[in-house]
Structures are given as C-alpha cells and as structure tokens.
C-alpha cells in the first residue's frame, strides 16, 4: 500500500511538471504576448504565507508602460486553472504619491476575457484609476487568497503523527508580461521543511524559502515548485454555512448560523485513544483542534450554541464595546476528516444595524462572511428575512454573489416575509465586509399581528358570551 501512495503524488507532480514545461515552452514562442505589449513588469516580489490553513499571497508589481505604447487602463494578472478554482479573493491597491504622502488606492479587479492565455490560464484585469501614461511607472500591491491549496501528504496520519502538506506553485510569477526582475518568498509555519524544489538560485533560512532573484523572464513563464512541510494549524473547513438574519422592527435582529464543519487536513487513521490525547497533548493529535473562536458584533445577547441533539455546554462569551468573542468547543475534538454540525444563534439590538437611507428606504447594514476565524467556507448562504410587508428588497454586496428572493413564514405570518438569499462559494475571512439590504417598509405592518391576536381573543370571548347566553338544548322548553 505504501509504495503506491508514494508513487501517486510523484506521478501527479511529474505530470504537473510536464504541463508546466509545456506551458513554459508555449510561453517562449513569440506569438504569445497578448494584449498590451507595451506593459512590462520592472520588478516583482511575491510573498507566499503558508503559516495557516489558507494560502495568502502578497504580490508587489512595479509596472512600466512602454514609451511607444498608448495609455494603459488596466494591468493583467494570470492564474493557473487550479489557482482560479481555489481563488477566494483578489485585492489590488496602487501606491500613489511620493514617499511621505504615499497613499494606497484600492483598485477593482475583474476576470478578464479580453485576451486568451495559454494552457487554460485565466487573466484578471486590474482596472487602474488613472490610466498609465507612456513611459510611466507605478507600483501595484496585490493580495490574493487561495483555499484548499495545501495538500496533506501523507493523506492519512495516526494520532501521534503531525501533519505534513504539499504546496505547489511556480518559482517565477505567472504573468502575461515580461518580468525583468523578480523574487518569490515562501514562509512556512515551522522549521520542519521536508523538502522543496530547487530552482537556482534558491535559498532557505529557517522557515522561509527564497526563490530568485530571477531576471528577464519571458511572458507566461512557469517553473513549478513543490514544498513539503509541517503545518499543524487546524484545517477547519466549513462545508456549508447558512446564516439567517431575521430583522424585527420591534427592536431585535436575530441571527441563526448553521454550520457543517469538517477537519480538512490529513485524515485520521486507526485508533483514537482518549488516554493519549489527554495525557500527551503536545504530541498527540497535533493537527486536531477542539476550540473555535467566533468574532461576533458587540452588544450581542442571548447567545446560544447547540446542535440537533441539544445544547453544547462548552462555550465562553467575552464582550467588550468593540466586539464579542465566542470561544467554543465542538462536542468532540476534531481529527482529520471528522465532521460535526452545530448552530450558533444570537440577538443584536436593531439600532446598531438598521438605518434609513436618504431616499426614505431602510437598509440593514450587516457583515458578510463567517464569524469563525481562520476558516474557509465552501458554501455560504445568507438569508436576510425582512419584516412582513417589506417591499422591493435590494442587496448591495461589494463582490459577485448569487442572489434570489424567497418567502418565509414565522410567528403568525399571513402573507409571509420577503427573504433575500445571497449565496457565495469559497469564502474566507477577507470577505467579512459590510453589505447592505435596502427595502421599503410601512410601520403599520408592525401592528398587524398584535391586532390579529386581539381580534382572535375578542372573537373567542364573544363566542363564549354568546354560547353562555344561548339555549341550544332541545328538551329545555319541555322542562320549564
């Protein structure tokens, strides 16, 4: 069994190498430079942070427009197909101004279909706020997050082993432009680095590996590398998260979050011994985790933490005026491949979240994403349940999401509540940004349900009175 396991990743690796070499060869062919042949990257630095379960990449590009070219309104960025699949978010900023008055202006990033890239690579366009004039140079700071990009190897470990993972990338930056000078730094969580591909010049100092400096790389160059290192960080993956936000104009916002959590690291194999786990905590189950931390808004109240079979009595809530932190444990420690489900619910004061827009509409200002720290959400659904009688809802989310409307019923509803459903895949902590749901609401609707109850009770009493005063018996007249 063991040799076959070994051989599989190796073949995969070789395959990737072959593909990469092919792509590099393709890149070398003269026909490839697409689009704006005027732009070139003067200097590039790529820092890959592999310390957590999520891969964070910081890319600094110094871009120069050719003197002969026209004005450039965007700069392209290339990703391999696997990267695109795991890409959670891309952010770009542009440094403006000179030394002391340097400011970073965020720039929009969009998938680009303007030009084709070889081997299925995708291009993203960074739209510049002011076009790049000929011969002008600017610095772009890029940040992107890749999820599920650390592959555990070995894929199955026992309780006493620690978790080793593979990371695959390229030593040089994949770019549709000429790159004059570049370096790649990979930072790993510990000194325990099993192996890394050497593409000279390559150097390692402690947990950091440096590739480069390379100079004068052709467009679309790709030099595959593989890093094998220890990462015992909890690989908490929320497979599915449904957040339900119920807005009540009586003064409360109720949030219910249903989690399906999985340990996404190397699968646990064989025995789980509680004895080892309890007595030798440092070495036993190093990659497992039993605590989770959720950052909730300040002033939350009536927080609960339960699953389908009842309350889970292992959570602590700390609140201050900026945030509340809910530290909780799943019912059992999670080892690789283990699942658990749970529900967190809490209420929040309405005035912190509901505002009136200038055009008279109301809007709820809520936070997107998942309150758990350092987790990936594969599938996020946010349901904003507006009060009964709300009209023309509209959700404004700063990134691309899938949205539709539903009607849900609760608490004596007659016409039902309009519910805005927002769905997004592959969500990370960087998605925890505010979003707004605008809607129209007439306060008269707040009285509908109390009035309904009052009239029902009135009807009941009237019926009682009528019944007591009526004589429905048949034989009564005979008796009297």
């Amino acid at each position: 069994m063991a040799p076959s396991l070994h051989s599989l990743p190796t073949t995969v690796f070789l395959l990737i190498l072959a593909v990469a070499v092919a792509s590099a060869a393709a890149a070398a062919s003269p026909s490839s430079p697409p689009g704006e042949d005027g732009i070139r990257v003067v200097a590039a630095e790529k820092r890959i942070d592999l310390t957590g379960p999520i891969v964070k990449v910081f890319l600094t590009l110094k871009v120069q427009n050719a003197a002969s070219a026209s004005e450039a309104s965007y700069v392209l960025l290339a990703f391999t197909p696997t990267e695109v699949q795991h890409l959670a978010i891309v952010k770009a900023t542009r440094a403006e101004g000179k030394r002391k008055k340097k400011t970073y202006v965020p720039l929009p990033v969009e998938p680009s279909h303007l030009a084709d890239a070889p081997n299925g690579a995708s291009l993203y366009a960074i739209l510049l706020s002011t076009p790049l004039k000929p011969a002008e140079t600017t610095t772009l700071e890029l940040f992107y997050v890749l999820t599920h990009s650390l592959e555990p190897f070995p894929a199955e470990i026992t309780q006493s082993e620690s978790q080793l993972v593979y990371y695959r990338d390229s030593a040089v930056i994949l770019s549709p432009y000429h790159v004059l000078e570049q370096a790649t730094y990979i930072k790993m969580p510990s000194n325990r680095v099993e192996s890394f591909t050497r593409v000279d010049p390559t150097s390692r100092s402690g947990p950091e590996v440096k590739y480069g400096t390379y100079s004068n790389q052709l467009p679309n160059s790709y030099l595959p590398i593989l890093v094998h290192f220890e990462n015992n960080h909890p690989f908490a993956v929320v497979e599915e998260l449904v957040r339900k936000v119920e807005i009540s104009h009586w003064g409360n916002v109720q949030i219910t979050e249903q989690y399906k959590l999985r340990h996404g690291g190397a699968r646990h194999k064989g025995v789980f011994s509680r004895l080892e786990y309890q007595s030798r905590q440092s070495i036993s189950g190093a990659s497992s985790f039993k605590n989770l931390l959720a950052r909730l808004p300040p002033r939350v109240h009536s927080v609960y933490y339960r699953d389908e079979i009842g309350n889970i009595s292992s959570s602590h809530l700390r609140s201050d005026s900026y945030k509340s932190e809910l530290e909780f444990e799943p019912r059992y420690p999670l080892f690789g491949g283990w699942h658990c489900t749970f529900t967190i619910g809490y209420g929040m004061p309405l005035q912190d979240f509901l505002f009136q827009a200038d055009d008279g509409r109301r809007y709820a200002n809520l936070t997107f994403g998942c309150p758990l720290l350092d987790t990936v959400v594969d599938d996020l659904t946010i349901k904003v349940v507006l009060p009964e009688g709300s009209k023309s809802p509209e959700a404004v989310v700063p990134f691309l999401t899938e949205q539709h409307l539903e009607t849900s019923y609760s608490y004596l509803d007659v016409v039902g509540r309009t519910t805005v459903v927002i769905k997004k895949k592959n969500v990370v902590g960087e998605h925890n940004v505010p979003f707004q749901v605008y809607y129209e609401f007439n306060p008269m609707f707040m009285l509908a349900e109390p009035l309904m109850l009052i009239s029902a009770l009135l009807f009941l009493f009237v019926t009682c009175i009528a019944y007591l005063h009526m004589d429905l018996s048949i034989g009564k007249s005979q008796a009297s």
């Binding site: 025995v271 509680r274 004895l275 007595s279 079979i309 059992y332 491949g337 019923y409 509803d413």
Partner: protein, 793 residues
Amino acid sequence: MAEPEPTTAAAAPAPGRLRNAFGGVLCAFTLLLIGVLAFSIRLFSVIKYESVIHEFDPYFNFRVTQFLSKNGIYEFWNWFDDRTWYPLGRVIGGTVYPGLTLTAGSIWWLVNALNIPLSVETVCVFTAPIFSANASWATYLLTKEAKGTGAGLMAAAILAMVPSYISRSVAGSYDNEAVAIFALVFTFYLYLKTLNTGSLFYATLNALSYFYMVCSWGGYTFIINLIPMHVLLCIVTGRYSSRLYIAYAPLVILGTLLAALVPVVGFNAVLTSEHFASFLVFIILHVVAFVYYIKGLLTPRLFKVAMTLVITVGLAVCFAVVAVLVALVASSPTKGWSGRSLSLLDPTYASKYIPIIASVSEHQPPTWPSYFMDINVLAFLVPAGIISCFLPLSDASSFMVLYLVTAVYFSGVMVRLMLVLAPAACILSGIALSSAFDVLTRSMKFQLSKVFNDGSAVSGDSIAEGSTASNDTKGSSTSTVNTNSAKIENRTEKSEKPSKKNRKKDREVTGSVPVKPKKEKRLSVLPLEASVVGTLLLIVLGGFYVVHCVWAAAEAYSAPSIVLTSRSREGLHVFDDFREAYAWLSHNTDVDDKVASWWDYGYQTTAMANRTVIVDNNTWNNTHIATVGTAMSSPEKAAWEIFDSLDVKYVLVVFGGLVGYPSDDINKFLWMVRIGGGEFPHIKEPDYLRDGQYRVDSQATPTMLNCLMYKLCYYRFVETDGKGFDRVRGYEIGKKHFKLTHFEEVFTTHHWMVRIYKLKPQKNRIRGKLKKLKSSSKTSSTLAAGRKKNPWQ
C-alpha cells in the same frame, strides 16, 4: 366547571345568582392558576438543564413523532423501522401506542399551521407539562363529581404538584404516562358523570375518552378492570340503577370496538384475559337488568318463580361462557396474560421466569421511602379521605375508594404503577382536606357567631343552618368555595337518596325538597380553639407538602439523565459524554453501520446518532437481547464472531469507573449474563461470581476478567492513574494490562463514560498468517483465500 351554575342559579334569587357567578369566576380563575402551577412546576428541568428530551423511552417517542411530522399519518401506520433490531427490524406502526405521538404530532401540526415556528422537539418537550395541567383539571372534574367543587379544587391543586406524577411528566419527559394519566382521570370522570346523570351523551364521550386512553398507554387495562369491578360492587351492594347500565354497557361495547381499532391492541381487546372481566360483568349486568325488568312486570309471587328460572338459566349461560373462556385461556401458554400483567398478579413471576422484565428497575416493587418520596403527606391524608367517602357513601365515592384500594395494590407490586396511585391519593386527600376545612371553618363560623350574637342562644343545628347562611352573605373566598361544595354535596345526596329508594325513576328528583342531614351538622361543630389550631395545622401540613413537591421537582426528578452535572468548588461541571458519543457516531461513521450496545442505549442511539442498533428498549425479542448479552459476556474472540455474524461494526459500552457514574455497563453486567444464560446455556452465572459475589477486582473469576465487557470497559484504564482504581466499585480492577486483539478503540468521550470500539477487519489477522505462510513457503494465493473464509464461519 361552569356546569353547576345554571341549576343553582335557577333556584336562587337574584343576589344569590350574582354570588354564584362570582364563585364560578373565582373557581375558574383558581383552576387556571392550578393549571399554571402544574405547568410551571415541571419546567425546572428546562431552567436547570435545557429543553431536551429525557432518558430512554422518550427518545423513541420523539423519534416516532419526528417521523410522523415528516411523513404523515399513513406512512406512520406503515412504518417498518429497519434501524433497530437488526436484522429483524420492527414494525413501529403496529407495535406502538400511538396516543402520545399523535397528540404531539397534531399539536405540532396545528402550531405550524398558524405559522408559529416551533420545532418538533420543543412540542415534545412541553407536551407532558401541558397534559399535567389537563390532568389536574380532569381531577377537579372527577372529584367534583364525587364530593363537590371544594374537594375538586383541593384535589386538582394537590395533583398539580404530586411528586409521583412530576417524576413522569417534567418538561422533556416525553413518555406515554404523561398523556395517559390525563386520559385515565378523564375517563373516570366521564364514567362518574354518566353514572350521576345517566346521560348517553356522556357515555359516548366516555367511550371516546377510553379510546384515547387505549391509544396512549398499556395501562388502559386498569380502567377496563376497575370499572367492571365498580359495577359489580354497585350490583352486589344493591345500587343497581339504569344510570349504572348506561354508564357501563356503552363503554364496553363502544370501548372494545374502538380499542380494537388501535393496531397494537387489535384483537387482544377481545382475546386476552385482561379484558375478560369486563365482558363477564357486562353479562352479569344484563342479567341483573333483566331481573329488575321482570320484577317490575310481575307480581311478587310470580317474580319469585321467574327469579329461580332466570337465575338457573343465567347461571347456566354464565358457566358455559366461563368454561369456554377458561378453556381458551388455558390453551395458551401464558394463560392469555402478558408477562407484565402476570407479574402484577404474581409479583414473583418476573424474577422467576422473565429476567428481562425483572432487570428494569421500574418494574421492581417499591420501598417504603419511595412512598414517602412520591406521595408524601398524602399517605396520611388518604385514610381520612376514605372515611370521608363513606359519609355518605355514593356511587361516585365508592368508586374512589375502590380506585384507591386497587391502585395501592398495584403500586406495591411495581414502582412504575405508583403513578396510577398518585391521582387516587390526590383525590382522596383532596376530599379529606376539603371536608376537614369544611368542618373546621364551619365550626369557627358557628363559634364566632355565637361569641358575637351572645343573646340568641339557639340549639346547635339551627345555628349551624344560620352559619351557612351567614357564610353566604360574607362571601370570602374559602367560604364561597365551601358553600358551593356544601351545596353540590347536598345536590348529589339529593340525587343519591331517591335512587336508593326508588331505583327506576331518578329524573324526577331534581325538584324535590332537600333533606338536610341534621345529625351530622351537630356532630361537626368543634370548639373554636380546636378548629383554629386544626386549620393552622392543616395549612402547615399543606405547606410541607408544597415544599416537598417543589424540592422533588427541582432536585430529584428534573435531571434529564443524558446530561449529568456535579457541583464542585469551581462551579458546575457538566458531563455531556453521552451526547458527545452519539454526535460522534452520527457524524463520523457510515450511515448504515450497525452499533451494538446493551439494550438500554438502543433508543438513544437510533434517535440521536441515527445508527442501526441490534437491540433496543422495546424488549420484544428475548433471544436477540440474549445474543448481545452472550457476546458481552464471552471472551473476545467468541464475541467478535457473534458480533460479526450480526454485521456489527461498532460496539458501544458505558463505563463510569473514571468519574464514578454508577449506572454503567459493569453494574448492569450481571443482567447481561443472566439474560444471555437464559437462552444460551454455556453462559453460566456462577462463572462470573466469586463465592456468590459480583466483583471485578483481583478476586474476580478469570471468566469475568476475560469477558468482552470487562475488556472494553477497562482497556488502558490503568494508564490513567497507574493503579486502575475504579471509582464506582471503589477498588482497583483485577486485570490491569491487556491488549485487545479483535477490537480497536475508535472513540472515548471526554470523561470516558462512553467508549466505542470497532471490530477489527478479518484480513488483519489473516495477513499475519499469510506472512507466516510466505516465510515458510511461497504458497499460492488461492490457498490463502480459501483459508481466509474458514475460521469465522
């Protein structure tokens, strides 16, 4: 409850009418408060723990309700459950009393139809408290039929907080009994109501209520035996009336027809011995009715002739029927009785023949302290209530006495049936307290009025009359209730007396002038001091009762048993190991994996972990349970073979040795040996006992120390403290270091209370053999494959 008003109002002048209306409203309000009390005293479990289903059986009921609410009623009737009793399965729709499930299911449906988002679990948790409120209202009605409003309110208040009933109906204790006690009391109420009014309408309602009871609980046989007994009593004591006939005959006919509609009862309603008494009495009643009819038709002389004729014929028919029945009954091995019913008649039956019934703690006879715990001061009040029932004895009050006496007997046989005793004790205590207060307050009134109106020295009874009148004018809360009760008492007396004299015509009575029992009144006047002290003492007694009940509800009966807590210096410590294990099973094993455990945990495993179990708390197949018992008491290899033959993948044991949880599998183990040994003789109980003593320390027998249960419980236990000290048993275990060869530990909960093992797959050990084979000679793989199957056939 508003029922008495029209008649009294019709008789009384205008101010009296207002007073009665006030009394009625007060009574209704009191009842409302009693309902609130009954509901809220049962919420301690939710407040102290959480809103969760308790214990074992409620989990099954909960699961059935979930199924019902998800799939609808027709699917429910046809439900074949393949998650339990693997590989046999269980027909749920035909083997379950559906009353509770249908009740909760319809509440859930109603609530959801109104768009109130309550989960099935919430509805299930709160069904029992809701029905406790209903039961206390039913008790009010029942007692009112027997002894009037005052006694009714008293009894309702007592029942609302009687610990015995609380123990079965705290929020979360979602069990049949919670609903059944209401149905029981309500059926009795309707029976007495029919008996008192002779109305066919109530007789029909009575049959429907009986149907509900049959749907809810196997204890319905108590009703169908008690009511015939009462009818027989009435006939024997010369209290036969057409009202009795109307009260009984429709109940038997309609009730039996309806009962046969419930799948779990079916033809048992006419075939088993539990129901025969009712048919026999039905025949006797008809004979008696016929005799009375003939008596009315014929002259006394002719009647005597006819009488002899009828009696001979009647007796002949009776004997014939009895002979047929006896023949039928004798032909069945258990004499037509179910095991549980038999152990009621012969308390030693179960322990002799059916260890599985005897192994359940709630089927044991109760100890004396449990009486004090469960009905507290009621035990002392009940005799007074019985006396009060005899002054004067009516049909209704004789029923109460009969109910009490039979219930006392049954509660003495099985702890569980203390629950049936509780309403009887409450009713009689309510009657006792009510009449005691009645006497005391009346004599206080009388003495006080004597002190104030010194001049009018009149004879005792006339003043007693006057005092009741002055009672009325003052109209304080208790006195209103008392006068009400006095009036109704009189009314029932009115309707009783003529019925004794003139047995056929009872309707005309209502108009007749009341005959006041003057002698009683004169007797009941006590000295002022004595009555004041008596009242205070009774109030103190009531106070004790309330304190005890609240304590019992809060401390003794609210623990859900799936969550345990302990208080230490650092605060509350929660032991949530059961749910930890079930959650682990549910999320980290395959959906179709089979889990073996002792039957106690079957219901919980299916409900919480949603995994197939081999045996569960519905102990319908003794052999199957014995198989699991045998596996647990066999050595590892034999156990592996048994479990493997049952397709079991995981074995779950409950172990309390680390934290001192006493009801664990080691303490239950002897029952496994006994039940297993009952079917498979190679398991012998003495092998597990050293000199008749059950122990797992160094003195334990080798059989004990090598059996699977011991190994699974104590695997690597010694490494926790180095000695292997078992905190439940209080000594160091016998065999400390051993390895498991056929099982591997896959999960142990935080406090080691639940340990789950996986059966090792076969090939692991075969590979070892293969290696040996390979080392000796390179044999062909076909030979190895051939051997692979061999050892475990």
